[in-house]
């Protein structure tokens, strides 16, 4: 028995006499495609979603190669170079291609007599590709010190400051690369836990119905009617101070994944209920297929795309949750670096007015959330043109 029970006519346009004219060969191809293939074909028509997919993939590449892309140690502090504004890389010098940045020189403020470092156009430091920098572990496995960009020569305080530095003199660009990794991974981890909870509870709810369904549905209703942020703030704040960064990381992941599972469970249950009535499931039941086989072979393929769509809509919610909690100082704790922790520095309006580049972590947050939303919308439309 094949799992493809899609007739071409039912997946075409909305007004009665309209549809895809297409030829017979195309129709045959259509009729034999699996649900996932169909979803992918419909998805390709959403240009915005396709672009978003590329953006999301790029973000995850950044996450994978965060240390390689960073130019200086994201943890290295240097009080003398605090709040250096963003420095561009000058590509040309004296008519030739010679990428360089300016070195720093100490200047004493004439009024406060404080020594501060500012860029010195007289001292040009060449920028090299695949230069050596601080040591790190690629994918946590291979020890290396090769970075995409690096300086040739220069003193201890010199560096490439594409996005400027924070109060402690740490390079914001390098911190952002590393933050991307942590923020995206915590989203993925949170979604995995949510997905597990959602599929299990939603599946049980949809499959067995009756009082189990009622119980789980009430639980979801209760969870959805509680204002989450104060609750999770409370839970996060109750984590012991003595916990290590990794423990906190895991705990936060679990806390934020407790937000996401209700929606996933709702989607899974809805699909189970709808599919249970479908002719092909009834047919498989009548043919004597076991329940496990019906679920895995017949039902799962036809709602996998819905689940993928729901996941891509749940991911941004996870990322926002982590960012919000960390921003409040209740999520991840330094020395961990996430977008929320970077934005924490921008909380004070006085500081922000003097160093607006501290807000730059808002850009990846917004872009990645937007991309995930478009992607999820495209996927949802593709998975179910009527839902």
């Amino acid at each position: 028995m094949s799992t493809t029970v899609i007739e071409p006519a039912s997946s075409s346009g909305s007004s009665p006499p309209v549809g895809d004219p297409g030829n017979a060969a195309a129709e045959a191809r259509f009729a034999q495609a699996t649900q996932l293939q169909l979803t992918w074909w419909r998805f390709r028509r959403h240009k915005l979603a396709l672009v978003s997919l590329i953006i999301v993939v790029l973000f995850y590449l950044v996450a994978a190669f965060a240390d390689f892309l960073a130019v200086s140690d994201p943890h290295a502090t240097d009080a003398r170079r605090s709040f250096i504004p963003p420095q561009g890389i000058h590509l040309f010098d004296e008519g030739g291609f010679n990428p360089h940045v300016y070195g720093l020189k100490g200047v004493r403020d004439p009024r406060t007599f404080k020594l501060a470092y500012t860029p010195d156009p007289a001292r040009k430091l060449p920028v090299r590709l695949f230069a050596r920098g601080y040591t790190y572990h690629l994918f946590g496995l291979f020890e290396t010190d090769i970075h995409l960009l690096g300086l040739e020569g220069g003193g201890r305080s010199d560096g490439i400051f594409l996005l400027g530095t924070d109060q402690l003199g740490r390079d914001l660009y390098s911190r952002m690369m590393v933050a991307t990794r942590i923020s995206l991974l915590i989203g993925l981890a949170g979604v995995t836990v949510s997905l597990f909870l959602g599929v299990i509870l939603g599946g049980i709810s949809g499959l067995y119905g009756g009082w189990v369904d009622t119980l789980i549905q009430r639980l979801i209703e209760v969870l959805r009617s509680i204002p989450t942020i104060p609750l999770w703030m409370g839970l996060a704040a109750a984590l012991p101070n003595t916990w290590s960064v990794t423990q906190v990381y895991l705990a936060i992941t679990i806390i934020i994944s407790l937000i996401g599972w209700t929606e996933l469970a709702r989607v899974v249950r809805g699909r189970f209920l709808a599919l249970r009535e479908e002719d092909f499931v009834v047919a498989a039941e009548l043919a004597g297929a076991s329940q496990m086989r019906i679920i895995l072979r017949h039902m799962l393929p036809s709602f996998a795309s819905h689940v993928i769509a729901a996941v891509s809509l749940a991911l941004p919610a996870m990322i926002v949750s982590e960012t919000s909690l960390s921003f409040l100082g209740l999520g991840l704790r330094p020395p961990a670096i996430s977008w929320g922790i970077l934005l924490q520095d921008a909380q004070n309006i006085q500081v922000l007015a003097g160093a607006p580049w501290l807000l730059s972590a808002a850009v990846p947050v917004t872009v990645v959330i937007l991309a995930f939303n478009f992607l999820g919308d495209g996927l949802r439309d593709a998975a179910d043109p009527y839902g």
Binding site: G13, S15, P16, P17, V18, G19, D20, P21, G22
Partner: protein, 334 residues
């Protein structure tokens, strides 16, 4: 038989344009609806019956568009109006809808809004076309509900549609179509969604109202039995075209188009021997976007004449009381 025509459709063409191309839903439809008579329009699903009905009221949704032809209201009178020339949103068109032409729907459940009472929806239709006070309109609505055979109309007027049975809902639908005193009523498969006994009652009601009020009724159906019962004249549609028109007796006695013959063979007969297989028409209606060349019925036709049917499009059905068929077979268009 030669009543004046209340509504004349001439070469009506409707296209739906979407990203995959242009679909000709109606491709040169012409017929006359005579005053006080019932015209049955029959054909398989997707042949353009409903599109015809909606085009007349200028209610086709985007991306559908009337691309040619005329819809003439009162063609014989001094003030003939071509509905295709009106702006669908114009006041004049709004007066035609409900005021001159009433529409009865297939699905009595979904055609009524569940959020308002039956009375609210009918009174609204009455006051749209007649200058009446609320109380007078309500009295009218109650009278109308009684007229369409709803028991206890004073009580039922405050009911919500979901509180009524399917048959009663369809009666409400009919009352609503009649609220503006139209002289033309289009009934789009009015009994398809109902069970058999209710069907007979609703058809009887339609027939009675049509006679009492002298309405020109355009009855759209795919049921030859309904046609035989109700119609004075019949138009058979296939793929957005009229393939045959005839007075009802003539159609059943001597069908001229092979498609009509096939349709009639597919009607279960009480005279058939037990266990005799019902005749079906081979193949399915092609997608309107994949219209066959030549006569569009030729791939399914059992009486095909050969190359000519594949290449040439037969002439349209002649207008006139005796009708004719759009076919190359000898004697088809006499």
């Amino acid at each position: 038989m030669a009543e004046p025509s209340a509504l004349s459709i001439r070469d009506l063409a409707v296209q739906f344009r979407n990203e995959q191309g242009v679909i000709r839903a109606l491709d040169g439809v012409s017929f006359d609806l005579r005053a006080g008579q019932t015209l049955g329009i029959v054909g398989e699903s997707g042949c353009g019956k409903s599109v015809t009905a909606r085009s007349i009221l200028r209610l086709i949704d985007r991306p559908g568009r009337i691309t040619g032809g005329q819809i003439l209201l009162d063609p014989a009178g001094p003030q003939a109006i071509d509905l295709t020339a009106l702006d669908p949103d114009s006041r004049q068109m709004q007066q035609v809808r409900g005021g001159r032409i009433g529409l009865i729907f297939q699905e009595p459940m979904t055609a009524l809004s569940v959020h308002y009472t039956v009375g609210n929806q009918i009174i609204e239709a009455i006051r749209q076309h007649r200058d009446l006070s609320k109380a007078d309109a309500k009295a009218q609505a109650i009278a109308l509900l009684g007229e369409v055979g709803i028991p206890h109309p004073q009580r039922r007027i405050d009911a919500y549609p979901f509180e009524l049975s399917g048959g009663l809902r369809q009666r409400v639908g009919i009352a609503m179509a009649l609220a503006g005193n139209p002289d033309i009523v289009i009934a789009d498969e009015p009994t398809t969604a109902l069970d058999v006994t209710t069907q007979a009652q609703i058809l009887g009601l339609l027939q009675r109202l049509q006679r009492e009020k002298g309405i020109a009724l355009m009855l759209i159906t795919h049921d030859m039995g309904v046609i035989a019962e109700m119609a004075d004249e019949v138009a058979v549609m296939y793929l957005g075209r009229i393939v045959e028109t005839a007075p009802v007796e003539r159609l059943f006695a001597a069908p001229r188009h092979p498609y009509t013959r096939a349709l009639l063979r597919a009607v279960p007969s009480i005279l058939a021997t037990p266990r005799q297989r019902l005749s079906t028409i081979g193949g399915a209606v092609p997608h309107p976007g994949l219209r066959p060349t030549g006569c569009s019925f030729h791939p399914r036709c059992t009486e095909m004449l050969g190359e000519r049917c594949r290449r040439e499009i037969p002439a349209s059905v002649p207008l006139g009381v005796s009708g004719g068929a759009s076919c190359f077979l000898p004697g088809a268009s006499e």
